[in-house]
Symmetry: none
DNA sequence: TATGAATGAGGTTTCATTCAT
DNA sequence: TATGAATGAAACCTCATTCAT
């Protein structure tokens, strides 16, 4: 491995460090309450260093989501290409989400927040484009499966984009909503079991009688 | 009407003015970007005055949501007590939401944001309690209908609280998600039609085959 | 005096306090090295307060110069309208400048700095307009006198705007240059006597032989 | 040429590279807005390297001016030693300045800024001394010519140092002032023609009637 | 009760400078 | 000697909140 390569790798590692730290802080405090200094401190770096890797706070935050979307997109595409029943594919989607939620509930919540958020202003064109593309890709894969279900005569024949939106929106909604109930009522975490119920309902709802 | 009563009424009116102004500003700018001065200005009051009616910015914001939750709770309860089929009740729930979204999309989005949000820290016990109660009431009414459906043998027999969560979460998710797509892609507003699809799917999903 | 008037006056007084403090600090430290906190501290105010009166650091700095230009413009116009010889008018200009320099050398230096400076970017249109107008007015009055001299056959007949520029530029240059020598050599202040020499030279230079 | 000498020469060349780059950047951006990184980048070096050749940003900036002063001093001395009329010598001074302005208007402006500037604080004694000496030398040459004029009975007999200051200050002032008007009013560049007028006036002003 | 000027803590961001390689 | 990633101090500015009137 040449020096150049080693440096590139080192740089990527540092970038990853920052992303990890940011994830942790944003998760706990939310976008506005999290400070760059906290994030720097968590990454065991100085504030200035962060700005060598990310243009500003907003772009750092968005980068987290892009990373998740990339991962999600990959996982979802894997499912799409499997040789299994359509309903089963939807169940696999559910599992992908549950896995993600399992890994770090806050990642997911951050992602949904970004999309429904107030920010989205200071992003560079490049990052904005990445966000759109990755988002579209994950979403597109879901639509594809819905269409497959319709074509095979298994799913009801509604507007497939809207149907995919329902699926994705329900994921997001259930996660956000049940998560918020935890905060309000301090109940134990039943996001996962609720998601399972959600998918049971939705899959049945999608099917032709 | 005595002087005391008149004063109380006057006070309530002023409070309502502030809430209306806050709604307008929060809708457009979001929680963090909205400033107390803007809100005061919109209410034709001075910043200081707002603090005579609300403990702080966060509590003002929460009050909006409580108001919506109250209204929502009332509407939902009306539906619960109607002498119509269970499925139809769910459809009516949907219409209640669509009405609300129609009236001001941002109200609803604000509500969902609150619940999934970063705030929820500086609230006084009293406001927190109100929030919980009103939330629980709206939610409870939905659960009740789900249970009714189960008891009548129409709905599948899963954990009814979770089923209600799916319903509510899907509302929220679809609204947030489709709304965010508007921002990202500038597509025309099809939140409402998506919601109709969502409910078609969910109602069918809830039913026993 | 009504309440409104008193408040306006109070506001003006506060504004003046800030300007005075800023003058002091900018004089000693220059634009970039001066900090808003220092200025606030010198004005016995908090940093935030300054921003109630001035949009930003740059506009505060510019306001100083506008104030001087206003004063200068008035003094110069007074001279223009006097019923005295043209050469004498130029001498009076010199005295106006010497007075100003006497009052606060740094004021003048600040003014020249602004005009030859790197900044001039964040100014609001309004302030920019004021700056131009006041600058043009003072300058215009000088041109007027030059023209008068030419018309009366006393001054050489060159491009009068350029001649006025020479006059003004020489003021500025002598002040800046001799002032800088003070810094370099710690000589005692002979700006004033140099200015007198300068005007003797320039007046004779302006005259037809 | 020994190794030592070659190294010295190499070092001087590198130093010159940095100075050239710095000149370019300072010209366009001014002292404060120019960054060391930009300068390093323009010199195709890394920031750290600059600090091997210059103590700090201020000293780098000052070095530019010293270089100009050196050049100026040489040119002025050349004029002093010419066998021509005194008035013509002054005109040659003017041409030297116009040449310099022609070559890079910003160099000159930078020089004047330095002298009237906010910096001049972090300079090492050595650099400070150089600055003083070179400045004194250029200035001294001008004084010498003024004195020559006085001795020959051509120029009025005022304090010759002050007269030289007027000359130099007028240069600086006209350049700075007319240049600033360009910025304010976007008029076309007439610095040079104004300088010519300036010298016409000043030369005549210096002469005995 | 209402005001609104003043506060001042705290946030983001920049950039001259250092130092391990 | 040269590098350039990292530093971290310090600056500008915002805005929720207070309090004298």
């Amino acid at each position: 491995m040449g020096i150049y390569e080693r440096k590139q790798r080192e740089k990527q590692r540092r970038r990853k460090d920052i992303i990890n730290a940011a994830q942790k802080i944003f998760s706990v405090k939310g976008f506005n309450s999290a400070t760059m200094e906290e994030i720097a401190s968590a990454a065991e770096l100085s504030p200035g260093t962060i700005y060598l890797y990310f243009k500003n706070k907003e772009e750092l935050h968005t980068s987290l989501s892009i990373d998740i979307l990339k991962y999600l997109s990959i996982q979802i595409h894997k499912v799409v290409n499997l040789d299994i029943h359509v309903e089963e594919k939807i169940e696999r989607f559910r599992d992908v989400f549950i896995d993600l939620y399992d890994h770090d509930p806050n990642i997911l919540i951050n992602l949904f927040h970004l999309q429904s958020g107030e920010t989205l202003h200071n992003l560079s064109d490049e990052v904005m484009e990445q966000l759109k593309q990755n988002s579209a890709q994950a979403h597109g894969a879901i639509i594809q499966v819905i269409k497959e279900g319709i074509e095979k005569g298994i799913f009801i024949d509604e507007h497939p984009v809207a149907m995919a939106d329902v699926l994705w929106g329900s994921y997001a909604g259930v996660v956000l909503w049940v998560d918020s109930k935890k905060k309000l009522n301090n109940q134990k975490d039943f996001v996962k079991s609720t998601l399972i119920t959600a998918f049971k309902i939705i899959i049945q709802g999608l099917q032709k009688k």
